[in-house]
Every structure is written in structure tokens, then in C-alpha cells.
Symmetry: C2
Subunit: 203 residues, 2 copies
């Protein structure tokens, strides 16, 4: 993201730099959620963060660059999954977590903006992939446990199952078609479980 890598001297990630990063990323998230990707002005972000405009342009350069860094930050704060003991219970918990996130006005708008940014820039897309990878890795074990318990066929691709839970919820967010409520979340979980039991995700 930073335009030029500092070669000669020492890097200084201490105090001020970290504080600026935190403030800017926070302001970026807020502004992105409110105004959306298209109407985002880096000068506005800088003003909100109480930081010089030049600083934002120097460290992140573009809107997509800023979003990419925001995603790295978001991936670091992954919440632990809950365990219910059954495959369907775990998948429903995951589905409802995603559903609540996307339904929330701020978070939903933020994700829309992030997705928009990712479609416009390869680096940001890569950051988004890594973000989802982190989330999926967190939830995959509950599928693997179901395989071990004999609830699902051997060789089931755990990651594919977890992705299958999220997919219809994101589709609702972006393409419309039905409200994004708990019923939709439960349907997503049940559909993924049914397909997995039928052996669709055996690799």
C-alpha cells in the first residue's frame, strides 16, 4: 500500500504512527458506512481522523488502498466461534452471525462499500479474500467435527460447506430477493447441511 518502501533508515511503527493508523482506519470505516465507496473523499477521512490530508495520501494513496488496510485490520479482530455440539446448530450460529452483521445498517453498508472497493482493485480483492479465508478457517473445524462424528461423509471439504452458508446471505445483500432475517439465515444453514449430507462437497 505504501508507495515507496523505506530502504536506508529504520522503520518507526511506534506510538504516533500506530495512533494515526487507528484513527484513520476508524474514520475510514465510519465514512465508508455513511457515504459509501463512490462518494468517499480521503480529505474528509483525514479531517475526521484529526490528521493531515497529506498523511493519508502518503501512507494509503487511494481509497482502495485504504480499504485493503482496513480489511487487514478487520481480519486481525476475528471473533471466536460458538460451539453447540451439532452440525446444524453450529452452522446456524455462523449463519446468524453473518446475517446480523449484514443486516446492521452500519456494518451492512460497510461491507457493501468494501465489496465495491474489492471489485475495483486487485490488491483490495486479495485483502478481501484473505479476510474471508480467516473467517472460514475459524468455522471450518465444526464441519470437520461433524465428519469425525459420522454426520457427514468422509472427504467433505469443510471450507466449501462454510462458504455455502454465507453465499446466499451475501447474494441477498447484493442482488436482493427476500429479507435478510433469521429465517433466511436458518435456511442458509439448513441448505448447506442438506447439501453436505448428500455428499455434494466431497472432494
Amino acid at each position: 500500500m505504501s508507495p515507496e518502501a523505506p530502504e536506508p533508515g529504520t522503520v518507526r511503527p511506534g506510538g504516533r504512527t500506530a495512533r494515526v493508523r487507528t484513527a484513520v482506519l476508524r474514520a475510514a470505516g465510519d465514512t465508508l458506512a455513511e457515504r459509501g465507496f463512490a462518494h468517499l473523499d480521503l480529505a474528509d477521512v483525514a479531517h475526521r481522523a484529526g490528521v493531515g490530508k497529506t498523511t493519508v495520501y502518503r501512507r494509503w494513496g487511494t481509497v482502495t488502498g485504504l480499504v485493503a488496510d482496513l480489511l487487514v485490520d478487520m481480519a486481525e479482530q476475528s471473533l471466536p466461534r460458538t460451539e453447540t455440539g451439532s452440525l446444524l446448530g453450529d452452522l446456524k450460529a455462523n449463519a446468524r452471525l453473518v446475517q446480523r452483521t449484514l443486516s446492521d445498517p452500519r456494518q451492512g453498508a460497510l461491507f457493501k462499500a468494501i465489496i465495491a472497493a474489492a471489485t475495483c482493485d486487485p490488491r483490495t480483492a486479495e485483502a478481501l479474500h484473505r479476510f474471508y479465508d480467516t473467517r472460514i478457517r475459524e468455522w471450518a473445524p465444526c464441519v470437520q467435527q461433524a465428519v469425525d462424528r459420522g454426520e457427514l461423509p468422509r472427504g467433505t471439504d469443510a471450507h466449501e460447506v462454510v462458504r455455502a452458508v454465507s453465499a446466499p446471505l451475501y447474494y441477498s445483500l447484493l442482488a436482493g430477493g427476500g429479507p435478510l432475517d433469521e429465517a433466511a439465515a436458518d435456511r442458509a444453514a439448513q441448505a448447506a447441511a442438506a447439501a453436505a449430507r448428500a455428499g455434494v462437497y466431497v472432494r
Copy 2:
């Protein structure tokens, strides 16, 4: 879309106006696929279309407005679905159609750009919803036929099943995770069929 509705005089949708619209929408699709949503300049679109810059700004105003009109145009040209006689065959045909569209460099990039535009503007989002609605309405009958044949439980929501086929393919396009090949298309179709057979989409 048009900034102001002409009230007093007569509207003239004839010859020249239609020609300009066609040329501009074509140029918009090309430019959108090549440069993406973020780096789209309406002046560039106008130049490609061999049309005055002022005309584009007057009729469409913004990038999102132009994309919205492009979606109306795309929805009008919906291709007829194929019929294979079995539920899984029909769903696979649908899945592969979507997969081929999204895999194609031009079409894939175009859809990414359109989705980005839709996340930035409510009107464009509405146009995108209508577009998918058109497509889903086209394919829903094959699910309904399966219900009538007794392949699926009564009361199955045909639209939900069709959406379930597309969802994972769009998820792959936007969030990554696995190649967007024929195997992925077949998996999407099989998963939707399995979930539908299990009664997940009974309303």
C-alpha cells in the same frame, strides 16, 4: 435516470435518440469491463460512443445512473432457457450459463463493475434487483415442473431454488475461494437440488 422529466412538449424517442442510447450503452459496457467502475469517466464513454460529452451528462448524469440504464437494457435481452427434462439437468444448465458468463473476462469484469455501482446507489441497486428478477423468473418454471412431477415437495419456493444456484457462483466471483469452473457450477446445481429435495425451500 433522466434528471428532469420533460412535461410541456412531446417526448421524441425516435431515430437519433435511440441511436445515441445504443451507442452510449455499448461504449459504457466496454469501458466498464476494461477500466472498472472506479476509473470510469463519462467523457471517455462519450468519446467512444462518438457522442458529445454534454449529452451523456444530460441524459444519465452519473456513472451509477448510466449503469442503471444499462441494466434495464440487459434485462430486456434475456436469453431463453434450455429444457433437459430433469431438475438436476435444468439447474446444471442454469449454473453453467451463469458460470460461463462470470468466467468470461469481459462479462465477468462487467458484472463486477455493475455490482460495485449497485452498492453505491439505491436506484442502481433497484435496477440490479429487477435484472436478477427477470432472470430468475425465466428459470423458475423448471423448478415448478419438478414439483409437479413429484421430484420436489409441494410448496417449494421455485425462486429461492434458482437463487440458491447462483449464490455460490457470485460468492466465488467476489469473495474468491476456489476456481469458477464447470465443477463449481455442477456443485452449485447439486447443492441447490439436494437442499430443495430436503424441503429447505418449502414456504
